[in-house]
């Protein structure tokens, strides 16, 4: 199972890396840049990815820079200048290299004062169901279970 935790300021990224819950070497494994952690809970593997606002437009611009500099280098080496035509796959691969080309979530649960996706990475929000759950302080286990149940029923229909 894959879970993404998103907050605009990146507080979760700073907190999770130092939290005791995620520092247990037996059940936890951080990736190289400490943005993704794999947990073993009751025999199940859960991958948690931590994202923030800077993983949206800035990452897309990094990916664009990668494509642009690659094209520039090939134009310098080639005798004739060729104008590149990029595809979705080219940009997706560039996003992966820039660090944010992971899976698209099926369901996004939004906690906050208003129904708004707050800059969740655009490339990963295309066909995601967005459910508004109310303020963060009202987060309850039962409501999450109900949201997942409603999502499953909707997909069955």
């Amino acid at each position: 199972m894959n879970v993404i935790l998103y907050d605009t300021k990146g507080v979760l990224k700073k907190y999770m890396a130092s939290s005791e819950l995620f520092c247990n070497a037996r059940t936890t494994c951080f990736d190289a840049d400490r943005r993704t952690v794999t947990l073993l809970l009751h025999g199940d593997q859960i991958t948690i990815e931590l994202l923030s606002f800077s993983d949206n437009k800035e990452i897309i611009s990094k990916a664009a820079n990668f494509l642009c500099s690659r094209q520039l280098k090939s134009n310098l080496l080639a005798s004739n200048k060729i104008e590149a035509v990029y595809t979705d796959t080219d940009l997706l691969n560039a996003l992966k290299m820039a660090g944010c080309g992971g899976l698209q979530p099926d369901l996004l649960l939004v906690y906050g004062p208003a129904r708004c996706h707050l800059g969740f990475p655009a490339w990963r929000l295309r066909y995601t169901e967005i459910m508004y759950m109310g303020p963060l302080k009202s987060m309850k286990h039962g409501a999450i279970v109900k949201a997942i149940y409603d999502f499953s029923n909707r997909n069955k229909n």
Binding site: A64, L72, L91, C116, A122, M131
Partner: protein, 290 residues
């Protein structure tokens, strides 16, 4: 109130010529003047979902749902502009919709051409409000008659100074972002070529920034949407304005698009006004951080 009502119709329409039309118009203006005590959106985006379901629900031919949907669009545009909403964007046809059955796609193309031509007629809402029309999307994917009609509509209304209607056609947000990346890279590569030939540009300069990408989006001339409404109760954005909607209020009324009427628009504005303070706070906080 006069400032908010600046997009009134210039000419009397048939709907207002009758006594009932006049009473309905006056009631609307009163309602809008009450709404204008709170913050009003400058830009509303609509995902017009539910036309086919409307046809099924009312046991009519599939194309009829789209026709009623077009009428709902014209009414909604009129109400938005009377309220003072300057920018309206609608999701008319996604690139993904080309995967539908060929005869359905062709009939939609025919309908689009017919409605674009209708919008340019003398008695249309476009003429009465002086609307400027944009078509956002990869227009090369459209059939030639539709592409030419769209280009004509943009050319004819380019000088209009009234409200702006942007129609997303052969559009997806990821395609728009890819287009912006393509254009930005081409621009930077051209600059670098000139720089290298002059011998005065460092290879690490001239990189693509977020601002460069934003300048090459189709929506560069419009502010970000304040509200995104998707009818039919669906909760997905379906690859619509993903870059531009970071702090937009997302709404999904259960009405099908052909059923979307004034009362749903008023409710939408009221929900926006309730959420306005927190959305503004998020926007300001984000600007300070980034």
């Amino acid at each position: 109130m006069d400032i908010k009502m600046k997009y009134k119709r210039e000419n009397n329409s048939n709907s207002r010529s009758s006594i009932f039309g006049k009473i309905w118009f006056s009631m609307r203006m009163f309602l809008f003047s009450v709404l204008s005590f709170g913050p009003l959106p400058a830009h509303i985006a609509f995902i017009m979902d539910g036309n086919r379901r409307y046809s099924k629900k009312h046991n009519v031919k599939q194309g009829s749902g789209h026709n009623v949907g077009f009428s709902a669009l014209i009414s909604t545009l009129q109400y938005c502009y009377e309220l003072g909403v300057k920018y309206v964007t609608v999701y008319a046809f996604s690139i993904e919709n080309f995967k539908r059955k060929p005869d359905e796609v062709q009939s939609l193309m025919n309908l689009l051409k017919e409605k674009i031509d209708e919008m340019l007629e003398e008695t249309s809402v476009v003429k009465e409000y002086g609307i400027r029309i944009n078509f956002w999307g990869d227009l090369n994917l459209l059939t030639e008659p539709v592409r030419l009609a769209a280009k004509k509509a943009m050319a004819v209304t380019a000088e209009n100074t009234g409200p702006v209607l942007s129609v997303c056609i052969a559009y997806t947000s990821t395609n728009e972002i890819l287009h912006a990346v393509q254009e930005s890279c081409a621009e930077k590569n051209n600059c670098m070529d000139v720089g290298y030939s002059n011998g005065c540009i460092n290879s690490s300069e001239g990189l693509v920034s977020v601002a460069d990408l934003e300048q090459h989006l189709y929506s560069a001339s419009c502010p970000e949407p304040d509200i995104v409404v998707r009818t039919s109760g669906e909760t997905r954005l379906s690859n619509f304005l993903l870059w531009q909607t970071s702090f937009s209020h997302l709404q999904n009324p259960i009405a099908l698009w052909p059923e979307f009427s004034l009362r749903y628009l008023v409710w939408s504005i009221l929900q926006y006004q309730k959420a306005y303070a927190s959305l503004q706070e998020q926007r300001i906080r984000n600007k300070k951080t980034h």
